[in-house]
Symmetry: C2
């Protein structure tokens, strides 16, 4: 089954890249390192990925799909409940991001220098802003969120909060009970947004 073997090889390269990026950083990890770690030839590598940056983009995409899938699966009867349920997703997000975190930070560093990486970083963030704005609008429609709330502004607050919690949780995992803090944060926000 060559198709299946090819996908296995791709997955093995991605796993190896995560480990190499975590150990020596994105810049220092070479394609040779990743091939050695994965036990594949450079030919196999370039069959799957045009560049090292291509791996980076594939890892980001895979991780964002996990988040999207999680977000879809947690819709609750009301929008405020959906937001509270969302905070319960955090441990899974943190676990999925765990050994990739130094890499994400380097990704953001790259993003500030590289047009293509920048576009890939900004796209999902705008995607989440739209997602949250729709959710807030749904809340206004169903009558659980005040009509005076501006969906775009509220979505931006939620997104900023999510990004901030994520970065802090990454930098200081033992510094606080992040899930509890996320729940409290959403509760403080809902006090201002909900009817």
């Amino acid at each position: 089954m060559p198709q299946q073997r090819s996908e296995e090889t791709r997955a093995r390269i991605l796993d190896a890249a995560v480990r190499r990026f975590a150990i020596s950083g994105y810049n220092a990890a070479s394609v040779d390192d990743i091939c050695a770690e994965a036990g594949v030839s450079k030919g196999a590598f370039y069959h799957h990925f045009p560049t090292k940056q291509g791996i980076f983009l594939a890892l980001l995409e895979g991780w964002l799909k996990t988040v999207d899938h999680g977000l879809e699966s947690l819709r609750q009867p009301t929008v405020p409940d959906t937001f509270i349920r969302m905070t319960q997703l955090l441990p899974a997000i943190f676990a999925a991001a765990d050994d990739r975190l130094p890499m994400f930070l380097e990704f953001w560093t790259q993003a500030s220098r590289d047009e293509k990486v920048w576009a890939a970083t900004i796209a999902p963030y705008r995607h989440y802003r739209r997602h949250f704005a729709r959710l807030i609008q749904d809340g206004i429609t169903e009558g659980s969120i005040k009509e005076t709330v501006d969906p775009q502004a509220a979505a931006q607050v939620i997104l900023s909060l999510a990004v901030g919690l994520f970065l802090q949780g990454v930098l200081d995992p033992q510094g606080a009970e992040w899930q509890k803090i996320a729940e409290q944060s959403i509760q403080v926000l809902l006090n201002g947004l909900a009817k």
Copy 2:
């Protein structure tokens, strides 16, 4: 005036390091590069800084002092007004951080790998959490913030929001009017916190 000349040299090294870090990144920029950029000898460099990391820590410290100074100077008659005033500090913070942003991201990357850098990164963040918690407590005392608000939790929300806004503003400066968004965000929060 050797004292003054020494301080000028130190400042020149710091400026040169900011430029080198911005251009080639913290890891790739060598002490030699920084000395060449600053037009100083390696002896002069090591007179002022034990290591390249020492420069990094000095830059972080200088930048945090700017923020602290700004925070102190904007106290208003009431705590909600102080928070709104705070958002007006953002353009200055962004300007001070401007060419240092890729560097800060790399700093966070380093922080996830290096105990000493980690401690230096986490210390100010806990310092700001205390600062905000005291401010919320002052608001409860003066009667502008609800007694039911937990100062620690509210401080954490504000800090997460600030970190998130900062990171987004850094990554996507043209993507939104960040000061306006910060004002709206604080307004949404105050709706939940203020009496």
